[in-house]
């Protein structure tokens, strides 16, 4: 029995995982599923990636409508930093000179979490945005950077909090930190493929996020699971056919698929032992950008998250 995605009243969903595992496709599919179920959704991409292409639009720094109940935007950490410096310095010329100087890179790097904090700050302002007394967005789905960089993002309140103890930043930090660790407010989804390195990274990331940072992390999502194509009887028949026609393209294809399925099953077992049963998403031969590809992921996620249309 595959796991369910415990998405109830949380308004912030952060989707992350190793590069190349289909994190953006899962974020896009989840945003679609929630929008279809009637929630007003904002899908946000951190940095430049594929989210816009998957949702069928171009993303900008301000939310743009992409369909019924669905809007999307992008946050560039560098641009967020520039905005912040400008808002503090007020003088455009001065801000630009400062941002372009090599020494400012030192400053930004020396304050770990500053650009990440600015990203979280922007997410928070969208979550808090109200119109006529009600929230503009019921749900904000974040296509977060790949593992190595989403950890700094999600750890920013703690990392920066150690440096900034008083002042407006400190206040904002602690409220963002509370929101991120509140299981009724936030859900972090880790996406992986059934491959050794991705699974290992997911297990490590889960330990960091749930253990060290105390964030509410969902059961892992295994994406791109090859289908179970052949029965045990088929496998025996294939072995017999191999002896008479080993070079037949059908048999070569079947060999490849059987090997991929075996490897995937072994990796899912590793994941299950470490983190419990995962949510499973199928491998899409035509890719998520193909006709009906994203819709299929959406339907699977809607089912797993109990999102009724």
């Amino acid at each position: 029995m595959p796991a369910r995605l415990p998405l109830a009243a949380q308004r912030l969903v952060v989707v992350t995982g190793k590069g190349g595992v289909g994190k953006s496709a899962v974020a896009a599919a989840l945003a679609r599923a929630a929008a279809k179920a009637g929630r007003r959704v904002l899908a946000v991409e951190v940095g430049a990636g594929r989210l816009g292409a998957l949702l069928g639009g171009t993303l900008g720094p301000e939310p743009r409508p992409l369909g019924p109940h669905l809007a999307a935007a992008t946050i560039e950490p560098e641009a967020a930093l520039a905005d912040f410096v400008l808002s503090v310095l007020k003088l455009r010329v001065l801000a630009r000179r400062l941002l372009e100087s090599t020494s400012f890179q030192v400053l930004a790097a020396a304050a770990p979490g500053l650009p990440e904090f600015l990203v979280l700050h922007r997410l928070s302002s969208w979550l808090d945005a109200r119109r006529l007394g009600r929230f503009v967005y019921d749900l904000v789905v974040v296509d977060a950077p790949a593992t190595g960089h989403s950890l700094p993002l999600l750890a920013a309140p703690q990392a920066l909090g150690a440096l900034a103890r008083v002042g407006p930043v400190a206040e904002r930090l602690s409220s963002i930190g509370r929101r991120l660790t509140d299981p009724t407010a936030t859900l972090v989804c880790l996406v992986t493929t059934p491959e050794e390195l991705a699974v290992r990274e997911t297990v490590d990331l889960h330990r960091e996020l749930a253990g060290r940072l105390g964030l509410p992390v969902a059961p892992p999502i295994v994406n791109a699971l090859p289908p179970r194509r052949f029965t045990a009887g088929d496998v025996a028949a294939l072995a017999r056919l191999e002896t008479s026609a080993p070079a037949h393209p059908y048999l070569a294809a079947a060999r490849l698929e059987l090997a991929r399925r075996r490897e995937a099953a072994a990796q899912v077992a590793v994941l299950r032992r470490s983190l419990g049963p995962p949510v499973r998403l199928p491998f899409l031969y035509g890719g998520p950008e193909s006709d009906g590809g994203l819709a299929r992921l959406s339907a699977e996620l809607a089912l797993a998250a109990g999102l009724a249309a």
């Binding site: 100087s101 790097a109 393209p249 991929r260």
Partner: protein, 372 residues
Amino acid sequence: MTLERALGEARILLCVGSGGVGKTTTAAALGVAAARRGRTTAVLTVDPAQRLKDALGLDALDGAPRRVALAAGAPLDAMLLDVKRTFDVLVAGLAATPEQARRVLENRLYQNLSSTLAGTAEYMAVETVYRLAEEERYELVVVDTPPSRHAVDFLDAPRRLLALLDSRAFAILKDPTSILPAAGSRLAHLLLLGVLRGLERFTGLGLVREIGEFVQAIDALTEAFRARVAAVAALLRGRGTQIVLVTTPEPGLAAETEALARALRAIGLSIGGVIVNRALPRALFADPPPGPPPGTPPPLAPRLARSFADLKMLADRQARVIAPLLAGADAPVLAEVPLLAPPPASLEELVDLARHLVPDADPPAQATRGRA
């Protein structure tokens, strides 16, 4: 360039590409291929999967070279990149006194910088390559580069660090008014100091003071560091260094690789060639689907046809995805590695992969399979 020539002539072979493209495995297989062709080789890897570590016999994580038990060919050593240790050794080597080294290593800002400043880990990888090249113990060093946010950081690391250490940049930290048009004037000084203080109050960070302390601590090392970094940068651009771009035909990764290829050219580095991993064997799917092999049980036939049709769809998609990358990389495809499941888990399988990448000139003559 061909892989055969690169493995025969280069002194340093850099495998670059996004995370998750199989760079580490490719680097290991290239090392095996070079050793099998008689060159004493070292493979520097960054984050190998357990299976690859097992295949190479890399059990310890201490950065020391381990001899790989190849049955034939020249010696092959494998080692893991140890960023922390490389960094410690570098600072200790450059500092005039142990006290000077200690002051740098213990500065809190420096500790933050060493892990967060873009390019530091990457620079330490290059530094290790430089040391190996200096030692002249190996004829060839094959390098698996760290996955970077800006993937070009690794190759651009020397220049970036040099720019950072440039005395003018540090002068700004010592006297922030130098970024103003009216540098040095009293007005400029007051204006900027006020702004920085305001920034400090607003963020609650003690940045200005801490940066001052950091600059003092690092200042003593700067000159020695500059010379070293310049030498490392020259090595990377030298004739003996070849860059191989590793990619897979998946949309996200191919797009990242394309951006990386552009960025490499922008900093004046040329790509020797491209290795495409996890490609479906195109020849298999070139012809229209044949019927099932004779003797196929009727219920199996449609499942076989479906499996073939799906994989053909995947192969077509791969071809579409990879085409713009290959056009933009302006470099030949050196090899395509078929979709393997699972990746090499033993030395034998790694040797098989090496032989796929660079076919033996005289295959039956050598008994090269099997581990000692």
